[in-house]
Amino acid sequence: MSSCHGTASAPVPGRSTTSVPAKLRVLLVGGPNVGKSTLFNALTGARQRTTNAPGTTVELATGTWRTAADGTADSADSTAHSVTERAIVDLPGSYSLLARSSDEQVTADAVRELARSVREVSGRPGVVVVVLDATTLARSLYLLAQVAETGVPIVVALTMLDLAATATDSPTAGVESATLVAALAASLGVPVVPVDSRNRAAGGLRALARSVDAVAEHPRRVTGIVPLASVPDLAQELARAEMLFAWVEMVAEQVTACCAPSLPVTAHGGAPATSGRPASGSMPGVLRRPLRRTFSDRVDAVLLNPWAGTPVFLAVVWLLFEFTTKFAAPLQAFIGHLVNGPLASGVTWLLGLLGLANGWVQGLLVDGLLVGVGTVLTFLPVMAVMFAALGVLEDSGYLARAAFLADRAMRSLGLDGRALLPLIVGFGCNLPALAATRTLPHARQRLLTGLLIPLTSCSARLTVYVLLAGAFFPQYAGTVIFSMYLASVLLVLCGGLLLRRTVFRDVHAEPLILVLPPYQRPHLRTLGLSVRMRVGAFATGAGKIIVGTMLVVWVLMALPATGQHAVGDVPVADSLYGRAASGIAPVLAPAGFGNDHASAALITGFVAKEVVVGSFAQSYAVAEPGGSVRPGSLGEELRASFDESSGGHGGAAALAFMVFVLAYTPCVAALAEQRRLFGWRPTASALAAQLAGAWVLAVLVFQVGSRL
């Protein structure tokens, strides 16, 4: 073991990164909330994308980490011939390689796969950058020890040094960064690089690049950890865990002793362990400081207060959706006008020049393709605001508190507070929410949560609420929309209770043990990158489905089912689309919206909720002689047709329609994801239950509402 003031912390010198010929694979590994993703964003900038881990729905961020070949500058302005590129993967946050969730399994598998390559392949298969949180070293060191046991080349990136400097009761509180880094490097024997991801120029990112390239060429072992020749089985891993706990204690003692020799180092408490041997894991007692309330403690005294916490939580959720409607609506209107006005006119003019005006080509391009693209574009602001708001909640540290606050409510459904996270994500989009169920520890909990997620009102449904609430309740639109979200929460709770008492009697809640990160100011650049990546994924993923759906809808509307009509010049009632809608309309009559427009919109909404508004616009436009989409008139058209189909109770019918949209199948993409995660049988059963439940609720709302 090196001395406290050894020099092992310095980046490994003596080589030029220009000698690194191939693209090095770098895995970022660390616990939740250690600053791993912020570091990933700083290293990759815009050169990143999200993919699913093979065979799973666990999301991975992958990217290219470029630096100038001499490692002295980041690559944005570097010439192509002098750039070193590394393929970097931001693995899911994990406390341990003994995985207890699919996310953790992905991390463990990726590290072990790299370890296998290191053993079996010559050259430089890759490097693991283990991200350690300077304020919670004990927890981070355990994961480092496990990674080191696999035998992969390791570089340590030390984050949160600014917080460590000001923390009040952390073992590293008040320790000089350089001292801490030197002490850690001396104890670990591998490069330890302090990083400040928010400072791209002088935040240690270049030193990290140099260390990674150097370790790729000349791997070092973590002192005190012997790499295992093969992957141990679970029993061996559990047995070795005690040794790793002891190693963590030892390293932590050395570090704290080096950093703060004058501070009282408390001997282990010596409490008897249940196994009869002296307790291990006394690291938290290595350096005990009297508790001093931090800023986060003072905030938590309010936000986690038994009486104040829940109202504050509800207020935060209400604000979230106020932001969505208030900020996104003007942008949506602007984009809508742009697409349906100048852009549509421009395309029509261009087609006129080519002699293709007034035919099916114009209909396909303007009323089909352009309407589809316009629908996607108008939806982007809503998604961006929602992802940004969720990002703020997550980055600020409040989302973990929300999970803790909701634990009791989730527990009544047989779930623990962690289930709240995918359910909250569901309010943005059901698809990532379904993927997020993989973090729940048991398959039955995942299935139960996965069946409840479609009842969370995704932001695609918000466009329908905004349209109908604005058209029928202009004075109370915000309240009506908020009520829909409350109804969604009620549906989740009632649906969960029903399932729990019937087919999920075996589901039991897992213990909730959450690490609460300190409150922090969200980093705007990181937040912006995340929003851009997610909105881009939505546009390219759901966007294709939406545009494709709009084209299919147009084709169905353009093809005559009866009568002598030319293709592209068919009244809705005589088209294939109109016939299908007409066939369904009588079924919806008891709910007050048994008109062709509503049933047609619900048919397309089955494919994607984003299309409902576009479908309304399209069907009204085609229904009118010589009509084109006129945004200003859509509300009037809706009021007229809903009033007619409801016998003068248009408002009640509109509410019933919104409830139906809330409760029935979110979209084909969500169905496909459910099938992939849970199989055909639960998916088909859920689909039938959703359709039946939506119909019953809508009828109930209309029948009660029309009598008030």
Binding site: D169, G269, P272, G281, S282, M283, D297, D300, F404, L514
Partner: protein, 77 residues
Amino acid sequence: MTLPEGPLGAELRVTGVRLPAAHAFRLNEMGIRLGTVAHVTQHAAFGGRVIAVAGSRYALDGATAALIDVEPVQRRA
């Protein structure tokens, strides 16, 4: 005594964990082990507790907290 019985601000040492083995092990991995000294920083609803361990804050639901045995840390004069 159990963790929920610890008063706000109390300095407590973990003396036993009666959770199922897999959950107890995860608790160990996260840094809460026998002998760990923790401070109670927040009493939350339904018996939930927030404890401070070595600079970290852990939130535990009421049922889990009730299965963690603790004793007050005796400060030397």
